[in-house]
């Protein structure tokens, strides 16, 4: 079903789903978080996935958003400063001795 040439916007604008207005790139970008959260109504989801299937820039935007989320997740793995570690271990020993 993939077109062999990049569709022109006018072609895309003509492709209706059940007579409903075509989802534009701008609307897709606005809805991207709802999409990733699984919070879209079935009809809207269908329209969005259809649009993705023939709009490479939007597919790229989605991929970049996923990469962004992955990059953000990498922030979790940070180090504990040696100083903090020393203080906390001392705290633990003092507590364990009393317990």
């Amino acid at each position: 079903m993939q077109p062999s040439i990049e569709p022109q916007p006018a072609d895309v604008a003509d492709a209706h789903l059940h007579g409903a207005p075509q989802l534009t790139c701008e609307k897709l970008v606005d809805a991207i978080t709802d999409y990733l959260e699984g919070a879209m109504a079935p009809d809207d989801l269908q329209r969005l996935e259809l649009h993705l299937s023939f709009c490479p820039p939007c597919q790229l935007y989605l991929d970049q958003m996923k990469l962004t989320i992955a990059a953000t997740g990498r922030l979790r793995a940070a180090d504990v400063s040696a100083e903090a570690e020393t203080v906390l271990m001392a705290l633990f020993r003092a507590w364990a001795a009393d317990a």
Binding site: C25, V29, Q64, T68, R74, V80, E85, L88, L91
Partner: protein, 229 residues
């Protein structure tokens, strides 16, 4: 906490008939009560950075956040005897941090002039995609990309590298308060949507809007960084 457990979660011991994660928590608590230093060091390495990030949502200053988290660890140790495993250990610990940080944040707010505080208006910052990247009204292609995104060369390699982390960190630090809170809890710390809504006392829709704006801003920062090279 939900079963969306971080990859660095402790290995679990399954208590008979019990939730595997819970069994692991109970075993860990027993170890801590026995004075097992390795178990405590392990727990610190897993949770401390996230605890500091969480505290920073309430008290921006990092040094203050570190102080608050140290106090929280004291609270954790002192409260261990009473930990019954009704919630996950992580959840319980984060709750202690959030409470202490919130209290400290409120106390500091009283000493700062009112005008210094940003209102929640910052959340209404569109911050969303520049609408001039799309064709506007009066064109036959209204709403379609005029300036589409360009591929990020060697995306996976560079985006996941250390320098990109600094870019993401800075982008998050620059966000309006509630956007910063949502993206930190969801995408940095891996909390699920319900947990975030409970913690921040916001609706699911609010949460999605804030997350959307925050992620859009971070993606934008990454895009600028990757194009600048």
């Amino acid at each position: 906490m939900s079963t969306g457990i971080a990859p660095d979660a402790p290995t679990t011991v399954i208590a008979p008939g019990g939730d595997p994660a819970l069994g692991g928590d109970i075993a860990l608590v027993h170890a801590l009560r026995r004075g097992d230093e390795a178990a405590f060091a392990d727990l610190v390495h897993q949770l401390h950075p996230s605890m500091v990030r969480l505290a920073q949502l309430f008290v921006r200053d990092r040094a203050t956040a570190e102080e608050v988290v140290q106090e929280a660890w004291v609270g954790v140790l002192q409260g261990l005897d009473g930990f019954e495993g009704r919630s996950a250990l992580r959840t319980w610990i984060f709750r202690i941090v959030a409470n202490k940080a919130r209290t400290r944040g409120r106390r500091e707010a009283r000493t700062v002039p009112f005008s210094a505080f940003a209102t929640e208006d910052g959340d209404d910052d569109g911050g969303s995609t520049d609408s001039d990247r799309f064709w506007g009204l009066g064109t036959s292609t209204v709403g379609y990309w005029q300036a589409p995104p360009e591929p990020w060369l060697d995306a996976e390699g560079r985006v996941l590298a250390a320098e990109a982390r600094d870019v993401v960190d800075a982008a998050i630090a620059a966000l309006p308060e509630r956007q910063r809170a949502v993206i930190t809890l969801r995408d940095v710390m891996g909390w699920d949507a319900d947990e975030v809504c409970n913690e921040l006392d916001i609706t699911a829709t609010n949460q999605r809007v804030l997350l959307h704006r925050a992620r859009t801003a971070v993606r934008h920062a990454l895009e600028a960084y990757l194009h600048a090279a």
